[in-house]
């Protein structure tokens, strides 16, 4: 068998295992995002949103949908890989892969694609739920799809790095709780940049999630606070940077080899 065929079987095995894992515990992995998004739609969209009126010329509930979908994609991609990789380390079944001839790049992509699958599935579910509340115009399906895939890739890789360097269960909760969630909430899910004071309008450009949410909003509603090309460059640059870091950590055996 050719080396590439062997690697493809290995990659398929890891992705299949990851998808089976999160589907088996779907009440912990797929359902919570859908339920919390329904609550956001009811509370912020239908109840409070009608009093807020329009934001960037669209109804408030329409305005928050891209952010909520993207929030689900980001958190699910991230948590899937971070927790799955850490649990593999904790149970030591990561060794099953380390003793096998699988190159590190395949292990990396196996976990990351597992995270992408969960992120995209949850994103689709949340989008479907949103259709019960409002009709989405969809400005550019290509941008929606591209942004969803790139973002889930980016945060799956970030989750993998978190999983690699984590030494205890608390470590895989610290970054999502104290860094990721604030960045998402302050990244323009619920408001336009134009509502912020001048100083904070500049600061928000340092938040990568601001670009992701805005380019996704452009794809769905045709409205954005930043240039699509700028946002894409930011996402792709971060993606390459984090990919190189994750690959280096795996090759060094950080957290997995002594």
């Amino acid at each position: 068998m050719m080396k590439s065929e062997v690697n493809m079987v290995g990659l398929y095995t890891i992705v299949r295992r990851e998808v089976t894992r999160f589907c088996r515990i779907w009440t912990q992995t797929l359902l919570p995002s859908v339920v919390s998004t329904i609550l956001y739609f009811i509370v912020f969209g239908s109840l409070i949103g009608t009093r807020i009126g329009k934001m960037n010329d669209v109804s408030y509930i329409e305005y928050i949908i891209p952010g909520l979908v993207m929030m689900s994609i980001i958190t699910n991609s991230y948590m899937n890989v971070a927790s799955s990789f850490f649990i593999s380390k904790f149970q030591r079944n990561i060794e099953e892969m380390l003793v096998s001839p699988l190159p590190n790049v395949i292990i990396l992509w196996g976990y990351v694609l597992g995270g992408v699958c969960r992120g995209i599935i949850v994103g689709v579910l949340v989008t479907m739920v949103s259709l019960f509340f409002v009709r989405l115009p969809i400005g550019s399906f290509t941008i929606v799809l591209l942004t969803a895939i790139l973002s889930s890739l980016l945060f799956s890789i970030a989750g993998l790095i978190n999983g690699i360097v984590s030494k205890k269960f608390d470590d895989i909760e610290i970054i999502p709780t104290f860094i990721l969630t604030p960045l998402i909430y302050l990244g323009g899910v619920f408001y336009s940049i134009q509502l912020l004071p001048k100083f904070w309008q500049k600061i928000i450009y340092l938040n990568p999630i601001f670009y992701i949410i805005n380019v996704f909003r452009f794809g769905l509603l045709g409205r954005s606070d930043v240039e699509v090309s700028t946002a894409m460059w930011v996402i792709i640059s971060l993606l390459i940077g984090l990919y190189c870091l994750a690959f280096w950590l795996l090759n060094k055996g950080v957290g997995i080899k002594t």
Binding site: M1, K3, E5, V6, N7, V9, G10, Y12, T13, I14, R16, R17, T20, R24, I87, S88, Q91, R92, N93, E95, E96, M97, L98, V99, S100, P101, L102, P103, G253, K257, T258
Partner: protein
């Protein structure tokens, strides 16, 4: 041909420098090889380096002529490993653990399924294939790890204390299974604390202590160095004091239990003849301790 060659292998942990102090080891193809040593001697570190789970500080490792540094993928294909501790997903089903492992070696699911059926049946786990691994007993988990290590049909099987905590009946059935695997041509490297196990199964042996190989020979050659043997005899009638038997050292453990330590110059016939002369009747007899165990303890003590 050598299945495994290790040259000047060193490992320094941050908290434990000198875990391996430049060991040399050669294992012949088809051998059943024992790597023995007390706790913390460096056995698991050596196995960890061979299986790529531990980064070496320096040295050379090759399997079937392929260097670990130059061709790690090829080297990994040759190895199946059964680690000391359970290292599979607790919530994964037995069949998934086996099929996934096959997948990591590039084996398609159809072929993997046939092999899984073969090995799980051989190891008495086929009926448990849909159970999650955490529901298995300790012995079953050990056998599952052996099945998993064999799924890609490795040329070298490394077992790190595979029978720890396993009852005698199961241990013996595992020995039979491992002997069969070895007869079919698989080189086996075994670490164990049960020296009876090493004596019964292995041909080659290395003893490692404090990061150094202190013996590297065959079990037969090692045992031939024993020049005394100790037997424990159960007597029909009680004795008041230990009798004088030729040049043997005798100790009366109980009124009807006599311990005799004798040089190999003497034969058992000479001893029995003398016992008969003194009208001491023997009901049963046994070796005081495992022969290899005696040598092992002697070597380790001497080394330290």
């Amino acid at each position: 041909m050598n299945a495994l060659i290790i040259k000047d292998l060193k490992k320094d942990y941050q908290s434990y420098p000198g875990a391996l102090k430049g060991i040399h080891l050669e294992v012949d193809e088809g051998d059943f090889f024992a790597l023995l040593g007390p706790n913390g001697a460096g056995k698991t570190t050596t196995i960890g380096i061979i299986t790529s789970l531990v980064n070496k500080t320096s040295g050379f490792v090759s399997l079937f002529g392929f260097s670990m540094d130059d061709d790690p993928v090829m080297v990994k294909r040759f190895i199946g490993v059964v680690p000391q501790e359970f290292n599979f997903g607790f919530f994964d089903r037995v069949i998934d653990i086996i099929l996934n492992q096959a997948g990591y070696y590039g084996i398609g699911r159809q072929v993997a399924m046939k092999r899984a059926e073969f090995y799980l049946t051989q190891l008495g786990l086929w009926d448990k294939r849909y159970e999650v691994s955490r529901a298995l007993s300790g012995g079953m988990k050990r056998r599952l790890m052996i099945a998993r290590a064999l799924i890609h049909e490795p040329k070298v099987l490394i077992l790190d204390e595979p029978t720890a905590g396993v009852d005698i009946e199961l241990r013996r059935s595992m020995w039979t299974f491992l002997r069969d695997i070895n007869k079919q041509g698989t080189t086996i490297i075994l670490t164990t604390h049960y020296l009876e196990e090493a004596e019964s199964l292995c041909r080659g042996i290395a003893i490692i202590d404090q990061g150094n190989i202190i013996e590297h020979t065959t079990i037969k050659e090692l045992l031939s160095r024993l020049n005394t043997e100790t037997m424990v005899l159960d007597l029909k009638s009680p004795l008041i004091k230990a009798p004088h038997i030729l040049e043997c050292k005798t100790t009366l453990l109980e009124a009807t239990t006599l311990e005799i330590t004798f040089s190999k110059v003497l034969s058992l016939n000479d001893i029995f003849l003398e016992l008969t002369k003194q009208q001491i009747e023997i009901v049963s007899m046994r070796n005081k301790a495992n022969r290899l165990e005696e040598l092992f303890v002697h070597l380790i003590r001497h080394d330290s």
